[in-house]
């Protein structure tokens, strides 16, 4: 059973339809990429999942139940535009927000101390947010999102504004949470991060799902049968006339297979002609390429 099921959700504002019949599922323990260009309807969709907005049509199921008032306590949400009370102390703030998420004072305090220790910020309890650096604020923001041990965590551009050290720290924590069975929705338009982290993705454009599935499968579907060959020595120009060359750079070529041709066929031609092959790799399209291709089509 999927942790989250979006079933034909529609949301309209005045005369604009922000989400237009979106449907997809998110499986337990997965890191799920919610992708789309600006204005595609990602934030609206997230707001519907987090009960900030109500869908005009369609249903959202969390753990098989229609979204109800108790679900927000099971969701952790980090909006793209981060927000904390600047004048409030770190400890007080975390306690307040954790209790709003339904934790008791005692549990909240315990969990906060644990997280603060993990992020080596035990001494910050009485510091005001405005006294912290941006990276430190991000850490506090992350704790706000995860402190109540949510089953589903929604991160909207979680790495924006983080230095490489903190990015790595947060990335590791996301992986750990995922390993422990927490489902994570990762909304971004930075594709290299998605490829690194996500197993499944959904691509939204103009309020509609235009692509949905496993990253590996999608790449497979969109591959163009291109192979990169690195070799030693020279290549005979006569040999090249029978092959489609996409790109060449010194001693490496990118070939595109012809109709009906397999990678083995290509390799055989090369070997038969005495080319000394150093490496032979299939070129898969990056998500970025697929994203641009689909969105601009």
């Amino acid at each position: 059973m999927p942790v989250l099921k979006i079933d034909n959700v529609v949301k309209r504002f005045h005369n604009k339809t922000a989400v237009n019949g979106a449907s997809f599922e998110v499986n337990k323990g997965k890191i799920f990429g919610l992708l789309g260009p600006n204005g595609a309807g990602k934030t609206t969709l997230i707001r519907i999942i987090t009960s900030i907005l109500k869908a005009d049509e369609g249903v959202v199921y969390l753990n098989g139940e229609k979204l109800n008032e108790f679900h927000p306590t099971q969701i952790g949400y980090m909006p793209e535009e981060r927000g904390l009370y600047k004048k409030m102390k770190v400890g007080e703030q975390l306690l307040y927000l954790a209790q709003l998420r339904g934790m008791s004072y005692k549990d909240a305090k315990k969990a906060i101390v644990e997280w603060m220790t993990k992020f080596e910020m035990q001494d910050w309890w009485n510091k005001k947010i405005e006294e912290l650096s941006k990276g430190m604020q991000q850490k506090v923001q992350f704790i706000v999102t995860v402190v109540h041990s949510p089953k589903l965590i929604i991160l909207d551009e979680p790495f924006t504004g983080l230095d490489p050290v903190n990015t790595e720290l947060i990335r590791k924590e996301i992986m750990k949470l995922s390993d422990n069975g927490t489902t994570i929705i990762f909304s971004t338009h930075r594709m290299e991060q998605v490829e690194e982290i996500c197993e499944d993705i959904v691509l939204i454009n103009a309020g509609k799902v235009i692509l949905d599935g496993k990253v590996a499968k999608i790449k497979e579907d969109f591959k163009e049968n291109k192979y990169k060959v690195e070799f030693a020595g020279e290549i005979n120009n006569d040999l090249l006339s029978g092959l489609e060359v996409e790109d060449r750079d010194g001693s490496s070529f990118v070939f595109k297979l012809n109709e009906g041709q397999t990678s083995n066929d290509l390799l055989k031609i090369l070997l038969d002609n005495g080319v000394s092959v150093k490496s032979f790799n299939e070129i898969l399209p990056s998500l970025n390429d697929i994203f641009i291709k689909l969105v601009t089509d």
């Binding site: 949400y77 307040y96 927000l97 209790q99 709003l100």
Partner: protein, 437 residues
């Protein structure tokens, strides 16, 4: 309910725990007293400074019996021809030259001309007019055969007393009115301040959450309505705390002052605390009498009603301020045009309240004290004058009903407004939100 309580607690504690809260609570009454005393001092100072030196060219000879020992403008007389004095009066240090023309003894309308280098104040002119017409009257009496003593014997000195007064002192009736007026003014003014100060605090707090985006995290845990109500209640509780501290402390301070000063001091000092009252009115009352009258007011009605109007007025206006706070875009400077529609009724109420002090039962005062947008400021100013109880109850019922309506409306605007970033909302758009499902 638990979450609402958490929000109220945060909004309350974050303000009360600040050092500035304690400071303001203790210093505000002091500042208020200093301000009114200062204003009294300045206007008193100005009054002495504003007396003008007037030179009179009296062709009619009516000023024979002129008594210049009175306070105010000083008058001198000249027999020089008008042509020459016109050119020299200001060099000789006079502010005004008044020329009284020949008088035939019959005219009922006389034009007296004045010369002045600077534009004289209206009050100065009126005072001079008064003195001159008095001089004409005395002149005419002197000229007639009527016995002056006879005319004097017609005059009676009247002093209006309150028949209900239960005090033995024959002047307390009037004193009670004076104290009621002072209290009414103070309460009306206090509510005016409360609505503005705490209303704006609610608005700022809403704007802060919207601008730094924390609102998204919070309303994914609680309903926007809960957040708004929690905020309004929390800030209101701060105001109520402050008010209760003052309600407890001010009588205590007054009692201590009474013990220290006994009946020894001239209570005209107190009158200066209230700009509305002429200090002369309080002459002859001692401090204990003032205290006694103060405690003799109908506090069992005044105090609870005052607190109810405080709450009603605060909730009504602060919910509107919350709606405005949510409608403002990222640029806080844009708020002015949205705040205007809220401030106008408050200022109107303040003006009606001022008139109420002079005539607490005038139709305007009665209307203002019942109409819900004005009543939180105007009714408290009527309370010390024992208004009919049905009017107080009607006013409260209307106020509570309007409050509920406004909170409902504001919540609709708030719910949509806090999620709209970028540009501010127009009043038209806000209207649409109210009627949207």
């Amino acid at each position: 309910m638990k979450k609402l309580w958490l929000i109220i607690k945060r909004e309350y504690l974050i303000r009360v725990k600040k050092k500035s809260f304690l400071l303001i609570t203790l210093l505000a009454p002091l500042a208020f007293a200093t301000l009114t005393l200062g204003m009294g001092f300045i206007s008193g100072y100005m009054a002495t400074k504003s007396s003008k030196k007037v030179i009179v060219k009296d062709d009619a000879g009516i000023f024979k019996s002129f008594n210049s020992a009175k306070k105010g403008n000083t008058y001198d007389f000249t027999s020089l021809p008008l042509d020459s004095i016109v050119n020299t009066y200001d060099k000789e240090g006079y502010d005004l030259l008044v020329h009284i023309p020949d008088y035939d003894g019959n005219s009922k309308k006389i034009k007296v001309q004045y010369y002045s280098q600077k534009k004289p104040g209206l009050i100065t002119l009126e005072k001079i007019e008064q003195r001159i017409s008095e001089a004409y009257k005395n002149y005419n009496i002197d000229k007639s055969d009527v016995d002056k003593e006879l005319i004097k014997s017609f005059s009676v000195d009247v002093s209006l007393e309150n028949a209900k007064s239960n005090s033995k002192n024959d002047k307390t009736g009037k004193l009670s009115v004076i104290i009621a007026t002072a209290l009414a003014g103070a309460m009306g003014f206090l509510l005016y301040m409360v609505i503005f100060i705490f209303g704006t605090q609610v608005m700022r707090s809403v704007m802060e959450e919207k601008i730094n985006r924390i609102v998204e995290i919070i309303i994914s845990s609680v309903k926007p309505f809960q957040l708004m109500v929690g905020k309004v209640v929390g800030v209101g509780a701060v105001g109520l705390t402050q008010l209760l501290i003052w309600i407890i402390f001010i009588p205590v301070i007054m009692m201590i002052a009474n013990l220290i000063f006994g009946g020894g001091i001239d209570s005209s000092n107190i009158s200066e605390l209230q700009g509305q009252i002429n200090p002369d009115d309080l002459k002859g009352f001692n401090f204990s009498q003032v205290i006694n009258e103060f405690f003799a007011l109908n506090w069992w009605v005044i105090l609870p009603a005052f607190i109810l109007f405080f709450l009603g007025g605060y909730f009504l206006y602060s919910s509107l301020f919350a709606a405005v706070g949510s409608a403002i875009g990222d640029d806080q400077g844009e708020s002015q045009s949205l705040i205007m529609p809220i401030t106008i009724p408050v200022i109107f109420a303040m003006i009606i309240m001022m008139n109420t002090l002079n005539d607490p039962d005038s139709p305007l005062a009665v209307f203002g004290s019942i109409f819900p947008l004005f009543s939180p400021i105007v009714m408290p100013a009527r309370l010390p004058f024992d208004p009919p109880i049905w009017q107080v109850i009607l006013s409260l019922v209307l106020l509570i009903a309007t409050c509920v309506l406004f909170i409902w409306m504001s919540a609709k605007i708030y719910r949509a407004g806090i999620l709209m970033y970028g540009k501010k909302l127009s009043i038209k758009e806000m209207g649409k939100m109210i009627f949207k499902k």
